[in-house]
C-alpha cells in the first residue's frame, strides 16, 4: 500500500526531499515507519521527532492506504 511521507526542517535536508510516496507493507504501524525512515536516512537526534498521521500529531496507529505522515523536528530559531 502507498503512503505519502512529508519531511520538515532539518529532516527534509537530511533526506534530500520534502515529500515522497512510499510503498509499505499492509498494516505497518507509525512506530515501524518511523524506525524505517530514521534508519534509511540516518536521521540524527531522532528521539525528538514527532509524527503526524493525517494531520494528527502523537498518534500510534496502523497505517492505511493513502495516509499522509509528517515527520516534524523541533526547531528554535527566531
Amino acid at each position: 500500500m502507498k503512503v505519502t511521507v512529508k519531511y520538515f526542517g532539518i529532516i527534509a535536508e537530511t533526506a534530500g526531499k520534502k515529500e515522497e510516496i512510499l510503498d509499505v507493507a499492509q498494516g505497518m504501524s507509525t512506530t515501524e515507519l518511523r524506525a524505517r525512515q530514521i534508519k534509511t536516512y540516518q536521521i540524527p537526534e531522532a528521539e525528538s521527532i514527532q509524527l503526524a498521521v493525517n494531520r494528527d500529531l502523537n498518534t500510534e496507529v496502523e497505517l492505511k492506504e493513502g495516509d499522509e505522515v509528517a515527520f516534524l523536528p523541533p526547531f528554535a530559531g527566531g
Binding site: E45, S48, L57, P74, A76, G77
Partner: protein, 336 residues
C-alpha cells in the same frame, strides 16, 4: 480617533479597544520575532508591553529586526525598542527589561502580564517559558524558525496543550537563525502572526491557534495545520515539580586541547567538557589567574569576534602569548 480604523471592525469596536487598553503583554526576546510583534501591538494600543532582552543590537540584526537602525548598533535592544515604540504610541506603557529570562525571574515577570509572546531563539528558553506559563497560569504564543520554515502555536490557553505536549523530548540541534541563515521576512511574518494571536486572545474573537500547530514554508508558499494532542502528564509534571531546566550540551571535536569560552553564562550551546574554562569577556581581567599561561589555549565565543578581542587584549595588556582565536566561533570546535 487614533484607533478609528480598527474600532470600525465589528470584532473590535470601542469595547474591544478598551480591552486592548487594559491588556498587558510580555515579549521575551525583541529580535526577529519580537520586533514586529511589539510594533503591531504598540500600534494597536495594547496598554502595557514588557520587552525582555539582554542582547545588544548588532549590524547583522538589521536585515530582519527593522525596528532598529544603524545608529542603534551596540545599544541594548530592550531600551532601544522601548524608545522607538514609545514614539509610535505615547499612550501606552512600555517596560524595558534588560535581562535574560531565567528560572529566577520568569515567574515573577510573567505574573505582571496577561499574556506572553515567545520571541526567543533557543530551546532552553522555550521550555522555560512553557514551564513558567504553566506555573503562573498564562497562555503563551510560540513561534520558531528553521531557515525558510516556521512553526506557530498558542500554548497553555484555556487548558489547552503545552509545548511539552508537542515536544516532550528536545534535541541538541539548536540551530539559530545566525547559524543557518534566514530571510528577514520569515521571522517578520511569524512575529506578526504572533501579534495577531495576541489580539484575538485579548479581544476574544476568532479561533485561537491553541491545540494546533501551524507550519509555514515561506519559500514554497505552503501551509499546514496539525492537531496537537494534550499530554496531561507533561503538564502535571511541571505543576508538581516546578520548572525543569533544559540544558543543551554539546561535545568538543578535539578534547586534547584547552579552551577558553568568553561567552556570557546564558549563551548556548554549553560545551560539556573539563577542557573548557569559562570566563565571560568582561570578567577576563579580574579572573586572569584562571587562564593557563603554559599550554596553547583556544579562545572561542559565538562568532569569533569577541574571542578575537579577548586574545588581542590579553596579549597586549597582559603579555599572554599562548592564546589562539577560534575563527568562526563555537560551531568550528563542536561536534554535529
Amino acid at each position: 480617533m487614533r484607533y478609528d480604523r480598527q474600532i470600525k471592525l465589528d470584532e473590535v469596536g470601542s469595547s474591544g479597544q478598551e480591552k486592548l487598553r487594559n491588556a498587558s503583554v510580555l515579549i521575551v526576546g525583541v529580535g526577529g520575532l519580537g520586533c514586529p510583534a511589539a510594533q503591531y501591538l504598540t500600534g494597536a494600543g495594547v496598554g502595557k508591553i514588557g520587552l525582555v532582552d539582554h542582547d545588544k543590537v548588532s549590524i547583522t540584526n538589521l536585515h530582519r529586526q527593522v525596528l532598529y537602525d544603524e545608529f542603534d548598533v551596540g545599544r541594548p535592544k530592550a531600551l532601544v525598542a522601548k524608545v522607538k515604540l514609545q514614539r509610535l504610541n505615547r499612550e501606552i506603557e512600555l517596560v524595558a527589561i534588560e535581562e535574560a529570562l531565567t528560572m529566577e525571574n520568569a515567574e515573577k515577570l510573567f505574573n505582571q502580564y496577561d499574556l506572553i509572546i515567545d520571541g526567543t531563539d533557543n530551546f532552553e528558553t522555550k521550555y522555560l517559558i512553557n514551564d513558567a506559563c504553566i506555573l503562573t497560569g498564562k497562555a503563551w504564543i510560540y513561534a520558531s524558525i528553521y531557515k525558510n520554515e516556521g512553526q506557530l502555536s498558542v500554548f497553555n490557553y484555556q487548558n489547552g496543550p503545552s509545548y511539552r505536549c508537542l515536544f516532550p523530548k528536545t534535541t541538541r540541534q539548536n540551530v539559530s537563525c545566525e547559524a543557518t541563515g534566514v530571510l528577514g521576512v520569515t521571522p517578520g511574518l511569524l512575529g506578526m502572526l504572533q501579534a495577531a494571536e495576541a489580539l484575538k486572545i485579548i479581544l476574544n474573537v476568532g479561533n485561537v491557534l491553541s491545540g494546533k500547530l501551524k507550519l509555514m514554508n515561506i519559500l514554497y508558499g505552503t501551509e499546514q495545520v496539525l492537531n496537537i494532542q494534550k499530554r496531561q502528564e507533561e503538564i502535571e509534571k511541571i505543576k508538581n515539580e516546578g520548572i525543569i531546566p533544559i540544558r543543551i550540551d554539546c561535545e568538543l571535536k578535539d578534547t586534547g586541547k584547552t579552551y577558553l569560552d568568553v561567552r556570557e553564562d546564558f549563551e548556548q550551546p554549553k560545551v560539556n567538557s573539563e577542557k573548557v574554562i569559562h570566563i565571560p569577556l568582561g570578567k577576563l581581567k579580574d579572573r586572569l589567574k584562571e587562564i593557563p599561561d603554559k599550554e596553547e589555549v583556544l579562545v572561542f565565543c559565538q562568532s569569533g569576534k569577541r574571542s578575537q578581542e579577548a586574545v588581542k587584549m590579553l596579549q597586549k595588556d597582559f603579555g599572554l602569548r599562548n592564546l589562539k582565536n577560534v575563527e568562526g566561533g563555537i560551531e568550528k570546535i563542536i561536534d554535529g
